[in-house]
Amino acid sequence: MNNEAKNGMACSEFEALLADALDNAVAADTRTDFDEHGRSCAVCGPMLAEALEGMVMVRGLAEVEPPKNLVHNILAATSRKEATAEQIAEEAKLGWMDRLQRSLKPQVGGLLHSRFAMSFAMAFFSLSITLTLAGVKIADVKNMVEHPGMLRKNAVLGYTHVEAKVASYYENLRFVYTMQAKVRELKKSAAPVEDPGENRQQNRKSAPDGREKPNDDYSMEHDGSLIAQTFTWHEGARI
């Protein structure tokens, strides 16, 4: 499109006036120039014709009849929205317990009745006390759940801890036995040598019925020296 003026009007001016001209909204003197330009210009003439045809075609389209249920559907949809808004306002007034009961299914919601709730509370209380007494900390369980890798690590640590305790116990026991043996050797070396036959005879004599008294000693050296002897429970063991 060139901007050369033809019949007192440039093509750009013609194009700018096109919409108004099709609406018959152009002043009379301008309209004359417009029409003249449209008749003489090889570009603007067809443009006007196409625009006119397009306008007539679109304006000729009949109004479409909306579906019969459209109004009903709109009313139903907006009523639902209204009902929802009212429901929200009503729920805002309810306590948290009521909201919880409503949010749960009716079957599950029934469990929140006082008698069931009391049973659950008791069960929870018992369980928590048992766990506390057993030394289980909720934080540990939580950590284990959150970090499954910790489960194996904790088990290994627990085992190592128990193993160390047992080893320590037996080490101490061995030390005690060693010390006992040393003391026994020292006693043995310090005590005077006695005739074992005499000792045995003395024991026999002490028996009232003439029989040999059963020996309560549970440990005796080959030479008859006493290592340890049982006494009544309140006297304890004597070495």
Binding site: E15, A19, M47, A49, E53, G54, G60, L61, P67, N73
Partner: protein, 176 residues
């Protein structure tokens, strides 16, 4: 609602070219109107303009969502093809049936609707608002948020493109 549902339905139908989409969108428009009615103030403009703006925004959203990217014929390509078209003077003397006669048939209505659905959305919405919704340029500029000059330009281009599409379809039909 009873006053405007026909208008909104037609606007949606002409833009989407689908009765189902038009129905859904009309419902959506009224639900939105219901929810945002408090945001409308008389001093901001006419209710019809506000309602049309709301509808247009919804249509644009729908268009983007459905990726309804239609094959839009270029005006330049059309101009090259239409170099041999008749001048206005010749057209007035054209012995062929007038557009009014052609529009009498249901088939023509269908063709125009199909052609309308094929032009670019920017041109289509301006054309619908002007020629079907009978809004003035100022109102259309307000709805589309573009200057009045742009509105006029889009309307002109839309009309020309529609005429070219129809002419092409007609030629194809006569060749077959």
């Amino acid at each position: 609602m009873r006053l405007y549902n026909r208008r909104i339905y037609n606007l949606c139908y002409r833009f989407t070219n689908s009765p189902d989409d038009a129905q859904d969108l009309t419902q959506e428009v009224f639900i939105r109107v219901y929810k945002s009615m408090s945001s409308y103030h008389v001093e901001k403009g006419a209710f019809t303009t506000w309602l049309t703006t709301l509808t247009r925004n919804l249509l644009v959203d729908h268009f983007r969502k459905s990726k309804q990217d239609r094959v839009t014929d270029s005006i330049d390509a059309g101009l090259r093809e239409e170099d041999d078209s008749l001048s206005l003077g010749d057209r007035l003397e054209d012995p062929r049936p007038t557009p009014d006669d052609r529009l009498a048939s249901k088939e023509t209505q269908k063709m125009v609707q199909m052609a309308l659905a094929r032009i670019s959305p920017d041109l289509r919405e301006a054309l619908i608002l002007r020629d079907l919704q009978d809004m003035d340029y100022k109102e259309i500029a307000q709805v589309l948020r573009v200057p009045e000059g742009t509105v006029k330009s889009r309307i002109n281009r839309g009309r020309m493109e529609l005429a070219r599409l129809l002419s092409r379809n007609k030629r194809q039909a006569s060749n077959e």
